[in-house]
Amino acid sequence: MRSDRAPLGLKIAAGLGLAFMHLPILLIFVYAFTTEDKSYQWPPPGFTTKWFGVTWARPDVWEALSLSVRVAAISTAIALVLGTLCAAAVSRTKFFGREVVSLMVILPIALPGIITGISLRSAFNLADIPFSFWTIVLGHATFCVVVVYNNAVARFRRTSGSLVEASMDLGADGFQTFRYVILPNIATALLAGGMLAFALSFDEVIVTTFTAGQQQTLPIWMLEELVRPRERPVTNVVAMVVVIVTFLPILGAYYLTRGTDTVAGQGK
């Protein structure tokens, strides 16, 4: 069959495209080991692992990391509850407001982040809410709902219907049906959605600059270093660690939803 072999030109274009997407990230890995600490000199004059030790001993990095993890964990928990509720309502029946609900869930991520950020900030100002851990969470949970929702709604679409009816037919009431049929069937989708929400929150910077006040999440810390570099090698090491840390939940989410209709992550 002639359509089974790709033309050479297409192969080259696709290969170059993939290289364009991956080489810059790989470059970060090289820079994490450079001995040069004043500039971004290429090729690196020498290689060392000493910056890992230096970074390990930096309290500001640990504080930023800890804040990011806590914010991401709480935002993910909130997003899981809200996203699942929304998905359940939308998939359960056809009601008039379905599209409105979908739109409302998607809006925080469809509009540019700066709009979400500045809206929240001016609302906090108007309502006299001081910036805190919770103002960051408020923003993050809002845009994390959509990834949980997207994953859950796809799975609900496959699950509900006759399985729920079969369970009720066999004597299970609504709560038992949720516990024994719905939950086990959507669990992997929720786990995948939760992982993606965590990654999204862990990485978010645009909205956070507006809702964080004086506190620094890891991305805010990185942004500071980008605008006003202090110790470049430490930034390199942190960047590399961030790449590795965000890859893990993505791989996990991918393997959890592999082979289903919708694979996780398309709705970022």
Partner: protein
């Protein structure tokens, strides 16, 4: 008279303008094998879902063993369903699928697994408990769904096109098995199908549905030989429906009438003077017989000629006759 298992008193189910079920009256006796037959969208499946409790009637009342089902959720009805797509729980293995009803009822694990094993034996699937539903064939899934629905010892079993997804040979085998099972258990089976052969061969009584209403209800022989309306004659086994003007000439009564294709005889045009004049449109060999399509004056008929009969050629002129006892007059003109 035996106890009534399920009774419909003027039950309707409307979705806005659409009348899925329209003022249906029905009485199904205990221990009866009852079939609901009709084309898709005729309301038969909705009737089944109303009995199971997945749908609520917009009007009328459903009475199950003397008690109204009004406001009783599905999980409080001792009525169980075999779903068209089987609806086996994908996250549970076969044994836990079958034992689900007992698990919900709070039976201890040992007891419910023993009961599930027994139920699997009943449907000829012993030892399949550890498999996942996805590892089973269509016929095996169907048996698991049956075992699961029977574990709670329902007094009425609802079957929604349970054989629809199986291939022909398996379907015939399952028809016999279902019939045997029903006799053995002695409970009421209510069976929804669009396959008239299935309904006629298995059921004690058949209700034929069309456009949300029951158009005829009776024993399989009555439905087959004595259709009361043209729709039944046409839908059940493709009887020939004769228009009233022809029937009036032959039987002196203004009404539709039906003749089974196998009762139709063909005579050479030159020989017999009686009978209707027809032109052979086409012939087709269908194994046990030959199917002959005929063009008559303004309508068409089908004859099934047995092995050994002379098969006319297409375009040949013939006379069509039948025995007077084979002409069945219908009330509705």
């Amino acid at each position: 008279m035996r106890t009534s298992a399920v009774r419909f008193d003027g039950v309707s189910r409307h979705y806005g303008e659409v009348r899925a079920v329209d003022a249906v009256d029905l009485d199904i006796a205990e221990g009866e094998f009852f079939a609901m037959l009709g084309p898709s969208g005729s309301g038969k499946t909705t009737c089944l879902r109303l009995i199971a409790g997945f749908e609520q009637p917009t009007d009328g009342d459903i009475v199950i063993f003397g008690e109204t089902a009004q406001g009783v959720p599905p999980y409080k009805r001792h009525v169980n369903t075999v779903f068209q797509d089987y609806a086996l729980f994908p996250h549970l293995n076969v044994l836990d699928n079958v034992a689900y009803g007992l698990m919900i009822a709070g039976k201890p694990k040992r007891e419910r697994h023993a009961a599930a094993e027994a139920a699997l034996e009943l449907v000829a699937l012993p030892g399949y408990g550890a498999r996942k539903p996805s590892e089973l064939s269509g016929g095996q899934r169907q048996r698991v769904a049956l075992a699961r629905a029977l574990i709670n010892e329902p007094r009425v079993l609802l079957l929604d096109e349970p054989l629809g997804a199986l291939d022909l040979k398996l379907r015939e085998q399952m028809q016999d098995e279902l019939k045997d099972l029903q006799r053995k258990l002695g409970i009421t089976f209510i069976f929804v199908t669009h396959d008239q052969g299935e309904a006629l061969s298995m059921a004690d009584r058949v209700a034929v549905f069309n456009e949300g209403k029951i158009v005829q209800i009776g024993k399989p022989e009555d439905i087959y030989y004595r259709p009361e309306v043209p729709f039944v004659a046409d839908f059940v086994g493709s009887s020939n429906v004769l228009p009233p003007r022809v029937v009036e000439k032959m039987a002196g009564q203004w009404s539709h009438a039906s003749v089974r294709p196998e009762a139709v005889k063909l005579v050479d045009a030159g020989i017999g003077a009686d009978g209707l004049h027809a032109t052979v449109h086409s012939t087709a060999f269908i194994g046990t017989a030959t199917r002959v399509s005929l063009d008559l004056d303004g309508f068409s008929m089908v004859a099934l000629l047995p092995k050994g009969a002379r098969i006319p050629d297409a375009g040949e002129q013939v006379h069509v006759t039948w025995g007077s006892e084979d002409l069945h007059l219908m009330d509705a003109a």
